[in-house]
Structure formats: C-alpha cells, structure tokens
C-alpha cells in the first residue's frame, strides 16, 4: 500500500510493516501483515435467522472486520424477516455466509449506545462499571447486568 509512506509505524512495527519492491513495476511499496481474528464479535440492530445483518447509523469498520475474521458472531437488537434484506439488498452490511452464530440480545450494547435504539450512555450503570474495575468486581457487575440472559 502507498499510504504508509511518511508514517513512523513502518520503522516502529517491523512485525507488521515491511517495505519491498512491487513485483509489477519495481517501485517500493509497504506490505502490511494481516490480523486474522478467529471470531469477529459484532452487535447490530437487525439480523435475520441466517445471519444477514443490517447496521443502522455509523458502521465503523464492522463490515471489513467480518470479512477479515474466520467467522463472525452476531448479537442483534432484534431478529427480522429476510424480507428486510430483500427490500434493499445493498444495505446488508454482513452477509449470512460470514456468520456462525446469531444471538437475539436487545440492549446488547448497554450501558453504551446503539443508535437509534438507545442514544445516551446509562451513566449510573457506567459509573458502577468504573467502580467495579477499581474494586476488582467486574465479574459480579457483569452478572448483575446479564439479568439471567446467559
């Protein structure tokens, strides 16, 4: 890739970035080692039972992440009929063949944000998390947040 020239990362991370000659025209190019996750874990707003997913609002790098990983586990605000994907196929951010598991998990990004379902951080619960980290009580905090969903 050409965009790495000028970045200190090429020298700082030789385990990820190497310069070499392009086999096509002999110019110097930077090669980047790929990270291949065993699983991508992605929370979405809509998925069907086969794992076709729609992401509403910002998608960040999640469509790429699902393609980089060996397989993807989806948690979803709701399971929708496949007709949703058929209505507008290009809005399917993650197709079924990348997905190994679909878990229906409303509120799956709490106490964080999942546009447009819940658009603000649940501060009391987040402050409880920060306190739990300090006190080494995160396993117990998580247990209370799971509310029997495991």
């Amino acid at each position: 890739m050409g965009g790495m020239w000028g970045s200190d990362l090429v020298a700082l991370r030789p385990e990820f970035f190497r310069a070499m000659k392009s086999p096509f025209d002999g110019t110097e190019v930077v090669c980047v080692k790929a990270l291949v996750p065993d699983y991508a874990i992605i929370h979405v707003q809509e998925a069907d039972v086969y794992g076709n997913c729609r992401i509403l609002g910002p998608s960040y790098q999640d469509a790429l992440l699902a393609r980089a990983a060996k397989k993807t586990i989806i948690t979803t605000e709701r399971i929708v009929g496949t007709y949703r994907m058929k209505e507008e196929p290009k809005l399917t951010a993650i197709p079924h063949f990348l997905v190994e598991a679909v878990v229906e998990l409303p509120g799956g990004a709490k106490p964080g944000i999942c546009y447009p379902e819940y658009q603000a951080v649940e501060w009391p619960k987040h402050k409880a998390y920060q306190k739990a980290v300090k006190e080494g009580q995160v396993v117990q905090y998580a247990q209370s947040m799971l509310e029997g969903r495991l």
Binding site: P37, I41, L146
Partner: protein
C-alpha cells in the same frame, strides 16, 4: 442458508483460550458489551483482542484479565466516558498483565 440462532450461553462457548477476537463498534457505540459480560462468566483466558477503535466491550475483558494482548489504533471510551479503565488497570504499573500493540 441455514438457521444460526442460538443462546448467549451457546455463542460464548464458541470462544476458546488464546483466540484472537475482533471486536466491533467504536468506543461506547454499538460495542458488544453484553457478549463480553457473558464471557466474564466463563473460564476462558489469554484472549487477544483487535479492533480499530476498541471501547467498552474490549475493556471488560481486560478488566477481568481474560485478555492479555490488544492490537489497536485507538483504545478508549471517548467524551465524558473518558479513558478505558479496565485496559489501563491491566496495562499500567510495574508489572502489567496485558500488552498493547498500538498501530498494528
């Protein structure tokens, strides 16, 4: 196409010791926090975590020391939520329990 719906318990059982997990979302936004919380109830350990802008779901796994390595461009919660407390607790100090591979 075949049906892949399963319980949170069944899905977290797919995660084994030492796996590299890519975690979606960004900071406090659409990160799979409840999945991470479910993983804290399992004995899984030595996880490696990667993502572009790791946030709360990744932080939880460092808070419990189930993850020992993070590959990232950014790791934090942003805005009022500030820094990632579990990651900092695992990575800072004289004897850090986790490694940060920033810019990978």
């Amino acid at each position: 196409m075949y049906e892949k719906v399963m319980s949170l318990n069944q899905a977290t059982d797919l995660i084994k010791d030492g796996m590299l997990l890519g975690i979606g979302g960004n900071g406090m936004h659409r990160t799979p926090t409840i999945f991470s919380m479910a993983l804290t109830q399992k004995p899984v350990k030595e996880l490696k975590i990667c993502g572009t802008a790791l946030g709360l779901a990744a932080d939880i796994l460092f808070a419990t020391n189930q993850a020992d390595t993070a590959y990232f461009g950014f790791f934090g919660l942003e805005n009022e939520a500030g820094l990632a407390p579990g990651m900092r607790k695992a990575m800072e100090g004289a004897e850090p329990k986790a490694r940060a591979i920033e810019g990978s």
